[in-house]
């Protein structure tokens, strides 16, 4: 497959967003007629790299070449004209139009597709060639997810794509749909097209790709390896890295504390047989059972989008379950409002702190006292503003929130300091159960280490902590026990000292 000159070469690509470097001299090479798997954990930079290739972002440095000639891509339509098409996880189809109309819409640069009949014909021909069945006259909104995906692929191919980027094509499919999709991907490659397959599922990589490129933390750690030389274990360890890179700059101890597995403590959180649906009606959680005892941290590992978001919303009380039960400190919590759950001792650090926990336009003092204002601690009718300011000042000093004044605007704080404000507010004397979802997302190492320290202190004081995180190293650094979630199901439980490879295998669906 890899003989001859490559079709597409990306070399030494750099990209930063603000000061955050997401791609560091990344290289990638694609041959004609191959399925090339692009692997990496979330945040490894795969999507950024592909978005540069299709012209959504522009690279800060580096070279793109197509068939040996420099490739200039400034906007998405440039890449389409060069025959590069991407099928996103979120399909780019207008629901209220038919499939034919969706193709017509994109036909500005394709004079031969500008009539309805021609567009329809092109779709049917493409579908036939790669072995799909589809109805071009059906409204896209009425199609199932799998049908939409086939529709999107046919649309992109009908527009003349010879390089097709598929972003986790099987993430939304059932097992049987996934295997027919993978077979179709092989057929597309056999017909001379080149496929870049972004996936988390190693079985697919081993079974269906010709070559593999692996990215980690914005760098290429393995480029264009022949799949036939690789095992799942080998790929898994390349993806996860050799682990246990300790987070301990500036003397902040972030090493694993002795395990606090509680054999006899009370269950402060007991979830049993919980089922819930996503906003679009698809199952989000299937028969989830978890329990967290006082004084321990349970880490819930898994790739994002596998039900974690729904689970945290459900536990916070802003999403309803279809069946199952949730007990907080022995009380049935499913029917309770967020406020009632808070009274039971639930505290939440949501993944998107600015959207779901802090008010960026209010002052820091107001944010720190928001929950106490609701409970009436600062006065039932009139607010005792002086006391709010005083306590806010004390919190700021105690938690070392840099650059913060009680009257300063919340939105001006950096991510790390904002998270400190949230932790100062949530970890209070009434806390029994702390739900933390990706608590270090977007934070630098120092701020992350502080957050970890706070979580560990909270557990040491007897709180039960449920840590939901996509960052395997974070899970390993903090957890007393580890559960793994995938496709809304709990895949298994591991002891706190499990290795990254063990966790990775469960995440990727290998027992």
């Amino acid at each position: 497959m890899s003989q001859g000159s490559p079709l597409l070469t990306l070399s030494a690509i750099d990209k930063s967003f603000d000061i955050h470097r997401v791609l560091n001299s990344v290289s990638f090479e694609l041959a004609r007629g191959e399925v090339h798997a692009l692997l990496g954990e979330n945040g490894a930079g795969k999507s950024t790299l592909m978005n540069i290739l299709i012209g959504v972002y522009s690279a800060d440095a580096g070279k793109l070449e197509l068939e040996g000639k420099p490739l200039k891509i400034g906007k998405p339509s440039d890449s389409a004209r060069q025959g590069i098409g991407m099928v996103h996880q979120h399909f780019r189809l207008v629901d209220r139009l038919t499939l034919t109309e969706n193709l017509l819409l994109a036909a500005d640069d394709h004079p031969q597709l500008k009539s309805r009949a021609a567009a329809r014909e092109a779709l049917l021909n493409t579908a036939k060639e790669i072995g799909f069945t589809l109805n071009p006259d059906c409204q896209v909104g009425e199609l199932s997810v799998a049908e939409k995906q086939r529709a999107e692929i046919c649309k992109v191919l009908a527009l003349g794509a010879r390089i097709l980027i598929l972003d986790e094509p099987t993430a939304v499919l059932t097992d049987s749909e996934a295997s027919s999709m993978l077979a179709a991907i092989r057929r597309m490659a056999e017909s001379g097209r080149s496929i870049i397959l972004i996936t988390h599922k190693l079985r697919e990589v081993v079974g269906f790709s010709h070559r593999v490129t692996i990215m980690r933390r914005g760098e290429t750690v393995a480029a264009g390896l022949d799949t036939s030389d690789l095992s799942i274990e080998k790929i898994s360890s390349l993806m996860m890295g050799s682990s246990s890179t300790s987070l301990s700059p500036d003397g902040i101890d972030s090493k694993k504390a002795p395990s606090n597995v509680q054999e006899h403590g009370p269950d402060l959180l007991a979830i049993s047989h919980l089922n819930a649906r996503r906003d679009d009606g698809a199952p989000a959680l299937t028969d989830v059972s978890l329990r967290v005892r006082a004084g321990e941290i349970l880490g819930l590992a898994g790739v994002g989008g596998n039900g974690q978001h729904e689970l945290t919303e459900l536990l916070s009380g802003i999403r309803s379950a279809s069946s199952g039960s949730v007990m907080i400190d022995g009380a049935d919590a499913l029917g309770l409002s967020p406020r009632q759950r808070r009274k039971l001792g639930l505290r939440v650090i949501p993944a998107d702190r600015m959207a779901s926990a802090l008010v960026s336009d209010l002052s820091i003092a107001a944010n720190l006292s928001l929950t106490s204002v609701v409970s009436g601690r600062f006065g039932r009718l009139w607010l005792n503003r002086r006391r709010m300011q005083r306590e806010a000042q004390a919190s700021i000093e105690q938690h070392e929130i840099a650059g913060a004044r009680p009257s300063g605007r919340m939105g001006l704080l950096s991510g790390g300091n904002a998270q400190k404000v949230l932790l100062a507010r949530e970890i209070d004397s009434g806390m029994k159960l702390l739900l933390a979802h990706s608590p270090t997302r977007g934070l630098d190492i120092r701020a992350s280490a502080l957050v970890h320290q706070r979580l560990r202190e909270a557990a040491a004081k007897g709180a039960a902590c449920l840590l939901v995180s996509e960052d395997v190293e974070e899970i390993m650094a903090l957890s007393d026990r580890i559960c793994v979630i995938s496709a809304g199901k709990i895949m298994g439980e591991l002891p706190g000292d499990a290795s990254a490879a063990d966790i990775g295998r469960l995440i990727l669906g290998h027992e």
């Binding site: 972002y57 998405p76 207008v94 629901d95 139009l97 017509l104 819409l105 994109a106 640069d109």
Partner: protein, 308 residues
Amino acid sequence: MEQFITSWLGSTPAFAIPLALASMGLVLCERAGVLNMGAEGYMALGAMTAAVLTLTLGNPAIGIAAAVLAGAALALIFGFAVVIMRCEQILAGLATMAVGLGIAGVVGRPYVHKSFEGLQPLDIPLLDQIPLLGRLLFNQDILVYLTVLIGVGLWFLLERTRAGLKIRAVGEDPASADVAGVQVQLQQLMAITASGALCGLAGAYLSVASSSVWVDNMVAGRGWIALALVVFARWDPLKALAGAFLFGAIEALLPRLQAIGVPAPIYLMNMLPYLFTIAVLLIAAWSGTKKGVEPAALGKPYVRQDRH
């Protein structure tokens, strides 16, 4: 009785055409995802412009053309605010409405209540003698026929052409349309401008065709009824046309009933179109939620998600 029905139907277009033109314009605008609350002001501006120019130049055609341009110009300001600057659509719409009403009031002041020779009906011989429908169908001015043509043309544009497909796609899912290569802002600006032009034409009809005079507050809430008609018509220009004739017929009925001495309180009668509007909106809300025909991105400013 035949006399009554003939004159009732014959006067229906005078009430229906302004509603039809304005609501079809708003349909176009909303199909592109932009909610324009300013129709009342655009219509007032159009009505005043057409009346003043017809009075000074003596030519209703120039007056009407100027009204169309005036409506389009005011709509362009709105378009700049909501499409380019991404202002809140409701506020920007209300603001341009106030601007339109204000200009109409100030500039039109010296011309109030001066009647002029307006647009005349086209007599189509013989056919206009057909009982009942003759006067309705064949003794109207050219704008009535034009309105029907615009309605059919607009439907054809939206449902059968690639240009219309782009407008609809922008109103449903601007992000997907953008990825497909559609220039979202351009589509919205064009739709907004065309809708302003149609509202201007609707206003011109009020002053130059149906009353041949300009008076303050001439539009009298028709812009709002047109806005409600869009919902009633489920965002379909042909249904908007039909709905406008239905409303026009109801409005036309009121003065007829008074003329033959039906004892009904006039204020209550004048309220009828608005009551009917509320009823229509309630029915539309109650029956339409399941199917969801409202353009999905209506009223939401589109901001591209990239971070170059």
